[in-house]
Amino acid sequence: MTSPPHLADLFRGLIGAEAVETGAGVRAFTVDGQLPHCVLFPRSVEELSTCLRTASEAGLATIPVGNGTQLGIGRTPSQYDVALSTKRLRRILQHEAADMTVSVEAGLTLAELNAALRSAGQQLPLDPPHPDYTTIGALIATDSAGPLRLSQGTVRDSLIGIKVVLADGRVITGGGRVVKNVAGYDMMKLFTGSFGTLGIVVEANFKVRPRPEHEAVFVLPARTTEAACSLARQVLAAPITPLWVEVLNRVTALATGFGESAVVAVGCGGTTSEVTAQQERLRKCGDVLYACSDAEQRQFTEALRDFPDSVLSRASRHVSALPVQDVNLDEGSAVGTSPISPAPTLEQKLELWRDIRRRSSANICGCKVSLLPSKLGDVLPRLEAEAGRRTFESALLAHAGAGVTLWCFRGAAIADGGLPPFADWLRAEVRAANGWVVFDSLPLHSKDRIDPWDSDVPGLGLMRGIKQALDPARRLSPGRFVGDI
C-alpha cells in the first residue's frame, strides 16, 4: 500500500491540493478513534469517480462522508484510509415545480434543498435530525427519518432516482425522474440505508409534496410512558389525519419543554378548517393541553426532530437526568447569549455539535428499537424500568405509528462496564417481542463488545452476496455494516 504522504499526493495530482485535506480538518472525520489519512472534496461526479477508482486500485479503504455527522453509526471499520466527501457536489440540477420532482446532488443539505423548494410551496417531507448538516447523501445512506414518517413515509417513499459511484469508479443510475417507474430493479431501495457499503450516492431525484397551509402541535399529557403509549393508540385510531404522533417519556418531555410528565405530541396540518376539526376530535382522546404559538410550535417540532441531541444539549435546569451541556445548538452558543448575536455558520454549528457528542460520548448510549406499534405500551415501560434498576437515566421518543423508538440512556455505570450486559439484556428482550435494536450511538469503550446491528438479521446471506457483487474487494466502509459487511 502507498504510504500516507504519497497517498495524499496521489489525490492532489488528481483533484488539486486544495481539494485534499490532510491537516486538522481530518479530525472531524474520525471514525471510532480512527483517523483517515486524508479527506477528499471532489467538485464533480467525474472527480469523485476518479478518486474512488484510484483509492480502490491502490488497496485503500474509503468511507463516504457528507458533513461527517453520522459516522458514529456502525461497527468499527476494519480499514479506513480515505474519507471521500460529497460536500462540494451541491447543485440543484432540476426542479420542475409543476412536476413535483427535484433532482439534486448529494452534498446539498436537506435544509438547503427545502429552502429552495419553499418558494414553490413545496417540500421534501422528511425530517431527520439536523437538516442543517444532513446532506442528501447522508440522508439516503443512513435512511434517516423523523416524526413525519407517519404521514409522509421515509426516504424509500420519496426517492425516485439515483446516480451512484461504485467502488471501482463505475457510475450507475437507477430509477428516473418520473414519479411512477418500474423499469429495472429498484436500486433506490438497495442504496437507501446501505450506510456507504455499496457505493457513493452522488445524485438523487425525489418526488416532493406541497407544504401544508397550516400546521399545529397539540400536546396530550399522560401519567406514565405506558399511559402515553395507550393514549397514542387512541389518537392513531381517531378520525384524524395527523402528520405525526409521538410518545415522549417524562425525561424527554421535561428536557424539550413539552411538559412535566410523559406526553403524546401530535402534529396536524392542512387548511385552517382541517386543523380545527382535528383539534376538536383530539379532545375526545384526552385533555389537549395547549395548541402552541407559532414560535413554540417550531421549537417543539425541532426538538422532536433533533432527538436525542435536543435533549442532550437543552436539558433544562430542573431535570436531573441527562444534564450534559447547557448549549443551545440553534443559537450556536452557550445559553444566555443575546439572541441578536449573528447566526452561527454551518461550521460553527457542526463544531458545537461535535463538542456535545465528544463530551457525552463516554457515558451515553443511543439506540433505535423497532417493534410492532401495538407492542410499545408493553415493551417500553419494561425497558425503562430495567434501565432505572441499573441506575441508567433514559430519554425516549417513540414514533408511535411506525413502532420505532429512539432511546438514549446515560449513567456512570456505562463507563464502568455496565453497558454490554444491559445491551445484551435489551436485545434479548426486544428480540423476544419480535423486534430489533440498533445501537446508533455507542461509547468507544464498548464498541468491540456490542454489535451495533443484530447479527441474526434474516437474509444476511443475500446481503453478503450483494456486497460481494457490488464491492468484491471490500473497499467501501469495510466491516461497518450488519454481519461484518
Binding site: 417513499d157 382541517e274 437474509g459
Partner: protein, 474 residues
C-alpha cells in the same frame, strides 16, 4: 422435455390434481395479458403451501430446471410467459388471508390472494388496501409484488412498494427467507428490492401489507372538456394549486365513446376529453377543495363539471374507467396498450407526439391514463389479420416509448418490462447499469433459472424475436 420422474416427483409433492400437463389444459397458461407472444409450459404445478413451494423448488434446483412463477396471469408485459422455462409454478391455490391485524394496520396474505379480497376483508371496519390496478378483481398480491403494480389511486397513496412491509421469499434453491416485517429492520432493504423484481429473485409466498384507513369523506368529479389540451392544463392547475387528489384520470374522445357504448354512464361522446378527479380526506375542508378544483376546471374552459352524488354513481364512474380497456374491444378486433411515463408537465407534448405518430402510421390511437402521474396508456387499435397493421402497431409503439424517454420519462410506469420491453431497456440504462442489475439477480438466482428471459437484453436470455401472430391485446 421433462423426464417422467420429474413429473411424478412433482405429483408426489403437490398431489395429482395440482399438476397440469395435458396440452389442452396448458393452453390457458401460454400467455398473460400480453398476448403478442405465446408459449405454453410443459407442466404447471400448483403448490398449496410454502412447504410445497420449497419442495418443488428444491426438486427443480437438483434437476437444474428453470421455472416461471405465475399469479392470475393478468400481467401486461409477458412477465409470466415461459421463456426457456419448462415448469410454471402457479400460486392460485395459496389464496388465504392469514392474519388481519387492524391495530397495526396490516394484513398477512398468501401470494395467490386477489387484490380486491384484501380490501373486501377490512372495509367494513374502515380500512382498505390502497393500490388498485384496473385488474384488481382478478390479479393477485403475488403478481402485484412482482410488478410493483399501480392503479388510479396511487397518485396520492403510492404504488405497491409503498404498501409492502415484508415478504416471505422462497429462493430458487428452496431456501426460505423472511424479509422485512417491521419498519427499520437492520440491513439492506431486500423487501424493497424484491418488489418489482418481476419474479426473478424467487417465489414470494407470503406478503405483509400495510392497510390505510378509508378516507372519511370523498368527492368524485367528472369534468368534461372540448379539447385534450384544456384537460391537461387543468391537471397542471390542480397540481400547481398544491392539491394532491386521490386520483386524476383522463380519457380522450375515442375512449370515452367506447366506454359510453359499453357502460352507458352518460358520458358526452362528442367531448374532446374527460377528467375524473377524486378528492378525499377529512370532511372538513373537502368542499373547499372541490370548489377550487371546479374553479380550475372552469378556468380551463370545462364544458361541465359533474359531481358524483352517491356511492353508486361513484362506483359506476370508476367501473367505466377501470374497464375502459375492455370497452375498447368494441372499436377494433385487436389493440395494444403502452405504459410509458413522462414528467407531468410533458403530458400535452407526448399526446401531440402520439397523435402525430398515429397519423404517420395510419393507426387509431386512444388515450386513457393516470394524468396526475404522467403515466400514459395509449391504446393502438388494429386488426391482426393484416400483417402490415401489426408491423405498424409495433413500430408506432416503439416510437411512442422512445418519445417518452426523450421527454425525460420511462418506458413503463406499472406494467413492467417482462418480455415486451426488453429491447427498450438500453434506452434507459447503460451497459454498466444493466450489468449491476444482472449481478444482483444472480445473488438471488445464480443459475438464472427463476423466470429467465425477462427484463434484461442479455444474449444468454434466449428471447425469441419472431414476429407476432395472433392477437395483440390489453
Amino acid at each position: 422435455m421433462l423426464r417422467g420422474e420429474v413429473l411424478s416427483a412433482l405429483r408426489k409433492i403437490v398431489g395429482e390434481a395440482a399438476v397440469i400437463a395435458r396440452p389442452a389444459e396448458l393452453r390457458v397458461y401460454e400467455c398473460d395479458g400480453y398476448t403478442l407472444k405465446k408459449s405454453a409450459p410443459e407442466v404447471v404445478v400448483l403448490p398449496g403451501s410454502t412447504a410445497e413451494v420449497v419442495q418443488v423448488l428444491r426438486l427443480l434446483h437438483r434437476e437444474r430446471i428453470a421455472f416461471v412463477p405465475r399469479g392470475a396471469g393478468t400481467g401486461l408485459s409477458g412477465g409470466c410467459l415461459p421463456v426457456g422455462a419448462p415448469v410454471m409454478v402457479g400460486l392460485s391455490r395459496m389464496n388465504r388471508i392469514v392474519e388481519i391485524d387492524l391495530e397495526n394496520q396490516r394484513v398477512v396474505v398468501q401470494a395467490g390472494v386477489v387484490n380486491q379480497w384484501v380490501t373486501n376483508a377490512v372495509k367494513d371496519r374502515g380500512f382498505c388496501y390502497a393500490p388498485d390496478p384496473s385488474s384488481q378483481l382478478a390479479c393477485t398480491i403475488g403478481g402485484n409484488v412482482a410488478e410493483n403494480s399501480g392503479g388510479p389511486h396511487t397518485l396520492k397513496y403510492g404504488v405497491t412498494t409503498n404498501h409492502v412491509l415484508g415478504v416471505e421469499l422462497v429462493l430458487p434453491d428452496g431456501e426460505v427467507v423472511q424479509l422485512g416485517g417491521l419498519d427499520d429492520v437492520p440491513g439492506y432493504d431486500l423487501t424493497g428490492l424484491v418488489v418489482g423484481a418481476e419474479g426473478t429473485f424467487g417465489i414470494v409466498t407470503l406478503v405483509t401489507l400495510r392497510l390505510i384507513r378509508q378516507a372519511e369523506s370523498w368527492k368524485t368529479l367528472l369534468a368534461i372538456f372540448e379539447t385534450v389540451d384544456d384537460a391537461t392544463a387543468t391537471v397542471s392547475g390542480i397540481i400547481a394549486a398544491g392539491m394532491i387528489p386521490a386520483a386524476l384520470e383522463m380519457m380522450d374522445q375515442l375512449i370515452v365513446a367506447a366506454v359510453e357504448a359499453a357502460f352507458h354512464f352518460g358520458f358526452p361522446t362528442d367531448a374532446g376529453a374527460v377528467l375524473i378527479v377524486e378528492l378525499d380526506g377529512l370532511a372538513a375542508g373537502l368542499d373547499e377543495q372541490v370548489q377550487r378544483v371546479v374553479e380550475i376546471c372552469n378556468l380551463n374552459h370545462a364544458r361541465a363539471v359533474r359531481i358524483a352524488q352517491d356511492e353508486a354513481e361513484r362506483a359506476a364512474l370508476w367501473k367505466s374507467r377501470k374497464r375502459a380497456f375492455g370497452a375498447v374491444g368494441r372499436l377494433a378486433p385487436n389493440y395494444c396498450t403502452q405504459d410509458g411515463v413522462v414528467p407531468r408537465t410533458k403530458v400535452p407534448e407526448i399526446l401531440c407526439r402520439i397523435t402525430e405518430i398515429g397519423r404517420r402510421y395510419q393507426l387509431r390511437i386512444g388515450n386513457v391514463f393516470h394524468a396526475g402521474d404522467g403515466n400514459i396508456h395509449p391504446i393502438l387499435l388494429y386488426d391482426e389479420r393484416d400483417p402490415d397493421q401489426v408491423h405498424r402497431v409495433l413500430d408506432a409503439g416503439r416510437e411512442i416509448l422512445e418519445a417518452c424517454v426523450a421527454l425525460g420519462g420511462s418506458v413503463t410506469g406499472e406494467h413492467g418490462i417482462g418480455v415486451e420491453k426488453i429491447a427498450q431497456m438500453p434506452l434507459l440504462f447503460s451497459p454498466a447499469d444493466l450489468d449491476v442489475m444482472s449481478h444482483l439477480r444472480q445473488v438471488f438466482d445464480p443459475d438464472v433459472r427463476c423466470n429467465p428471459g425477462k427484463i434484461f437484453p442479455t444474449p444468454g436470455a434466449c428471447v425469441e424475436t419472431k414476429r407476432p401472430h395472433r392477437q395483440v391485446a390489453l
